[in-house]
Amino acid sequence: MTLAPGSRTYPAGPGARPSLRAAFRGSWVWYSFLLPPLLLILTFVGYPTYLAFEQSFFTETPTGDVFAGTYHFQRLLGSGLFWGALGNTVLLGVAFLVIVIPLATIFASMLNRIRKGSTPLKVIYFLPQLTSSVAIAIMFNYIFQPDWGLLNGSLRAVGIEQVPLWLADPRLSFGGSRAAVTILAVWSGLGYFIIVTLAGLQSIPTDLYDAAAIDGATPLESWFYITLPSLRPTFIFLIMTGTIDALSRFADLWTLGGPGGSPARSLQSVVMFMFQQGFENSDFSLAAAAAVVFFVIVLAVTGIAFWGFLRREFLAIR
């Protein structure tokens, strides 16, 4: 291509060219910079996304694709398996966030106030975040082993003899498989939530606390009336990213329960449902319909959080 970036090395030769053409030629440099990443994005992001939407409205037949209208969506929304997977995903996500955010706030507050040792503690808390979900899932598969696993062994050591079955129990209970994977998620996600909350805490101006202290507020009072309200943007951010991560949960549940999310589909997430329908059952249209619904849900979550965030936070600044 003559538009190679190097051509810019020889600017406007002898005999001035029309300025419009010079400007046009200047643009080509930038277009040539953008072309490779643009092509990659169109090919590997845009085109497959388009295909997902298209596939959800068509049925594949040996003679070509046949328009199916909303048939696949009706199939999807009439499928108990899909609702089960969506229900699991939402339940696990809500349980995770309800536990991890208060826990992270308490730990971050303590890390923020402690005088010594906060750096090594941060490094330790953050460690699971660097470990792949697959490795964590394999590790916890044995930790949750009812007879000799680390967790039940520790419970027995402190005198609890009626130990739960954890991953072997598909029922919805505090000692069942869903509780187990929530413990796993909190253990592995806590570090990230702590680090982000800590950054939020450190951005609170200290004169707010000084003023409160002069007014005679106890440390606990200033935590309730200054710290928590100031962390609002942090919480919104964590809830938003945490919800999206929870919706796309896959690797740890797949490692523990296979694509079907055993025991008894109690651990099947939406992404695992798509994986199973598309990859194992080759029901690409149903997988595509699920992918479209998934896309709409994620977009709605992002939109709601973003809109709520913009409305309060940005109006406050103005």
Binding site: P36, I41, I138, W187, V270, G278, F295
Partner: protein, 295 residues
């Protein structure tokens, strides 16, 4: 008694001056203990895993009371694990895939970021919005069509399938555009007047000024790609192309009954990442905080 009491009264003020405890030492101690208990809970699974992986007996039976020291320390499980799984081959695969995607992602993100930050050309904002729009498309939405598309291109079971979809993205482009925008125009203008091409300006002036952001992006990309398992599960079924994480996932599901061997495999799979993290922890944590993106 009285002598002792009077003595302690005399000594007390001097002692107080020498070992001065913080006035809030009670709350400091309480918080320290709570945080230490938390740290023990975070570390215990790792330590238990290492101890169990070093015990040959763990494949048959484990004590009902968990032990953090193997009763029969040996590397037996590690030999079996390396015999079952070509772990060093998997390391090479992961290094190739993670290395190339990271290099490509940094290059394409920064060159596009440069164009969006400093370029003047028609359609700039429309193109930028197009790049940003990819941020709102979750990978899971397009994974099945992308897998079918890779099949049509005849790229499944190649390194390309693991690399190509992750070379360019909205997040990196956005981050690089933000960083490059802060570089003063005068610097770039001066180079232009000296006759440097835009590409040379990009390589010799812009990139060196973006080192911290490039490091952030590299760290995040390495974490994402190293730990990804969903996409490799779809496009690679050839054992010789497995990444570490995928190999671990497959092994974890097949050798599950042999606790010691499975945990030895897991230890080998995560050890390099953990060691790298311990050396780079400051940068890793800073990257995650500054970008607001989870590792």
């Amino acid at each position: 008694m009285t002598a002792e009491a009077s003595e302690s009264i005399d000594v007390a003020p001097a002692a107080k001056k020498r070992f001065q405890l913080p006035t809030d030492w009670r709350s400091q101690l309480g918080m320290g203990v709570a945080l230490l208990i938390g740290a023990v809970i975070m570390l215990a699974p790792f330590l238990w895993m290492v101890a169990t992986s070093l015990s040959r007996k763990a494949n048959v039976s484990l004590p009902r009371t968990p032990s953090f020291w193997p009763p029969d320390p040996s590397f037996f499980n590690y030999f079996i694990a390396t015999a079952n799984l070509p772990i060093f081959k998997l390391y090479v695969n992961s290094l190739v895939v993670v290395g190339l995607t990271t290099f490509g992602y940094l290059f394409f993100s920064s060159i596009a970021g440069y164009a969006f930050a400093k370029g003047r050309f028609p359609g700039k904002s429309a193109l930028f919005i197009l790049f940003l729009a990819t941020l709102f498309i979750p990978f899971e939405t397009r994974m099945i069509p992308l897998y079918l598309f890779m099949g049509k291109l005849d790229l499944t079971n190649t390194y390309w399938a693991l690399i190509l979809p992750f070379l360019a993205g909205g997040f990196g482009t956005f981050l690089m555009r933000q960083t490059i925008s802060t570089i003063p125009d005068e610097l770039i203008e001066a180079a232009r007047i000296d006759g440097a091409s835009e590409f040379r300006i990009f390589i010799q002036i812009v990139l060196p000024l973006c080192k911290p952001t490039l490091a952030t992006l590299a760290i995040l990309n390495v974490i994402w790609r190293w730990n990804d398992v969903l996409w490799p599960l779809l496009v690679t079924t050839d054992r010789n192309l497995f990444t570490v994480t995928q190999g671990l996932a497959m092994a974890g599901r097949s050798q599950g009954v042999y606790t010691g061997v499975a945990l030895a495999t897991t230890v080998m799979a995560i050890l390099p990442v953990i060691l790298a993290y311990l050396f780079l922890q400051r940068y890793v944590i800073r990257s995650v905080v500054s970008s607001g993106v989870k590792g």
